[in-house]
């Protein structure tokens, strides 16, 4: 078996050299496609991260009915704290709220002359564990009898979410199209070497090579194209991402960018393996077609 593997690799290199120009074209194509693929992966991950970070900083605010006593309010606070998904509940009594409000605006408005009684309700500021839970938690809090109203900036988050969704959908469409185009080019590249080696294939079959055996050198040729394209796009993407991160965190320090090395290496790995897979598939398709029309 070892001598066969050696044979496959030597044969693959032969093909590689024979159609050097077309091979270069295939490598460049696969590199471009993989870089775009990686770019989209990183963009989606970063946008998701931004949405997640902002969303988790957002609080729900629940307003009670005005005439709730402080004791009852304390009981409600406990109840809210026990709801699933709730991380923290902060209570602000209506007196505190009124004092703060007057402190903020009183001097300008001469409030005491217009409003004699505190018009504000008690409020609860609720933080959820996971921003996805916001709508659910909001619903269960507003279901409580003593709660008049629940507010959270769900619209903003929903908009950001749908934007991420749109980018993701566009990315998937683009990546699928690019993969198909890449596959087509790899298939045609390797088909050239298949044609150039028709006699070799004929002789191999004549002397009793199995189809699997005939296919391997071409599959390996595809894998080599994929590996080279994968490594090239990895280098391009890593260098540009690292420098982009530096510039973004200098210019927009509040923007959370993904710097988790494990996640980044995972993205690079997925990208490179996609290249290897595309190359392998391309080699397989082109040689299989050549082997099909025989008795």
């Amino acid at each position: 078996m070892f001598s066969s593997i050696e044979f496959f690799i030597i044969e693959a290199f032969r093909s590689f050299r024979r159609s050097a120009l077309m091979t270069m074209v295939a490598i460049v194509t696969i590199t471009v496609s993989l870089t775009v693929f990686g770019f989209f992966l990183l963009s989606i991950i970063n946008m998701g991260n931004i949405v997640g970070t902002f969303a988790s900083r957002l609080d729900l605010v629940a307003y009670t009915s005005k005439d709730l006593s402080l004791e009852d309010a304390a009981a409600v606070q406990l109840k809210i704290g026990k709801l699933p998904g709730v991380e923290k509940v902060e209570f602000t009594s209506k007196t505190e709220a009124w004092k703060k409000f007057k402190g903020d605006f009183g001097s300008k408005l001469a409030l005491e002359e217009i409003v004699h009684e505190n018009p504000l309700p008690h409020t609860f500021a609720v933080r959820v564990r996971n921003p996805d839970m916001l709508p659910v938690v909001a619903k269960s809090i507003s279901d409580l009898e003593v709660i008049d109203e629940v507010r959270y900036s769900g619209k903003l988050i929903d908009q950001m979410r749908s934007m991420v969704g749109a980018v993701r959908a566009a990315g998937i469409v683009l990546v699928v199209l690019l993969s198909l185009a890449t596959l087509l080019i790899v298939v045609n590249t390797i088909r050239l070497t298949v044609i150039a080696r028709e006699t070799d294939i004929y002789i191999m079959k004549l002397v009793g090579a199995t189809n699997t055996f005939v296919k391997w050198p071409f599959i390996i040729e595809g894998i080599m194209i994929g590996v080279i394209g994968g490594i090239a796009s990895f280098i391009i993407l890593k260098l540009s991402y690292d420098s982009a991160i530096m510039q973004i965190s200098a210019a927009l320090p509040f923007l959370p960018v993904v710097t988790d090395q494990r996640l980044l290496w995972f993205v690079y790995l997925v990208m490179t393996m996609t290249g290897v897979g595309l190359g392998m598939l391309g080699g397989y398709i082109s040689v299989s077609r050549a082997l099909k029309n025989e008795p």
Binding site: T199, L206, G208
Partner: protein
């Protein structure tokens, strides 16, 4: 060893290349397949190593019905049949040694076996001195010797030769036939398709003659013409 029963081959063009052929070739026989160009010799040989399938009839090679063979069994049939061509079909970018070793490589044989068997085959055909030459550095007769070495390197029980002397001068042709005879004497069934009259007449072997796809003569110790 080889048994054809009512074998016919009609190409999609409508040409009747073989018509109801029945014949039996025994183990270790030496047979000439003669007939003018277009008689169906090549087509008949192709039926044996399943380069092509018969339209009807039964082809049995080494106890196996070739026509009904599962496609993934074909490689194993081919390892039992060596084939030699008029145009040699050597790979131009490989040395003599590589061309012969190629036939063993594709069977996944270990490296030491490949080397030993390839050298043995090259010695048998008298090409040991030229192992590192490329095909374009060889004469026609030498190329044919390499082609024969490649065909027998697996020790197949059957050797088929399609016009092996078609591109060679009379003396070289005679040498090649001597070589095929030698291989036949080493327990190999040999079938040679040819229209080289003088050689057939000289060798005095069994002669099977085709004409327009029909078998018109099957004669022991035959001559090219009746």
């Amino acid at each position: 060893m080889i048994e054809l029963t009512n074998v016919s081959k009609t190409f999609s063009s409508g040409i009747d290349a073989l018509h109801n052929i029945s014949l039996t070739i025994g183990k270790e026989e030496f047979v000439f397949l003669v007939g003018s160009s277009g008689a169906g010799k090549t087509t008949l040989l192709k039926m044996l190593y399943r380069e092509d399938l018969p339209t009807s009839g039964k082809v049995i090679v080494d106890r196996v019905n070739v026509a009904e063979l599962n496609p993934d069994q074909v490689p194993y049939l081919r390892r039992n049949i060596g084939v030699v061509f008029q145009d040699f079909k050597l790979l131009p970018k490989r040395t003599v040694y590589e061309n012969v070793a190629f036939a063993l490589r594709v069977t996944g044989a270990p490296r030491s076996t490949i080397r030993r068997k390839a050298m043995q085959a090259l010695e048998l055909v008298g090409m040991l001195r030229r192992v590192s030459s490329f095909p374009n550095e060889l004469s026609g007769g030498e190329k044919q010797r390499v082609c024969i070495a490649r065909a027998i390197v697996n020790n197949p029980p059957i050797l088929l030769a399609d016009e092996p002397t078609g591109n060679l001068d009379p003396t070289t042709s005679w040498d090649i036939l001597q070589l095929l005879d030698k291989i036949n004497k080493r327990n190999t069934t040999v079938v040679v398709a040819t229209h080289n009259k003088s050689i057939v007449d000289e060798m005095k072997k069994r002669v099977i003659e085709l004409d327009g796809g029909r078998l018109i003569r099957d004669q022991q110790l035959g001559m090219y013409n009746v």
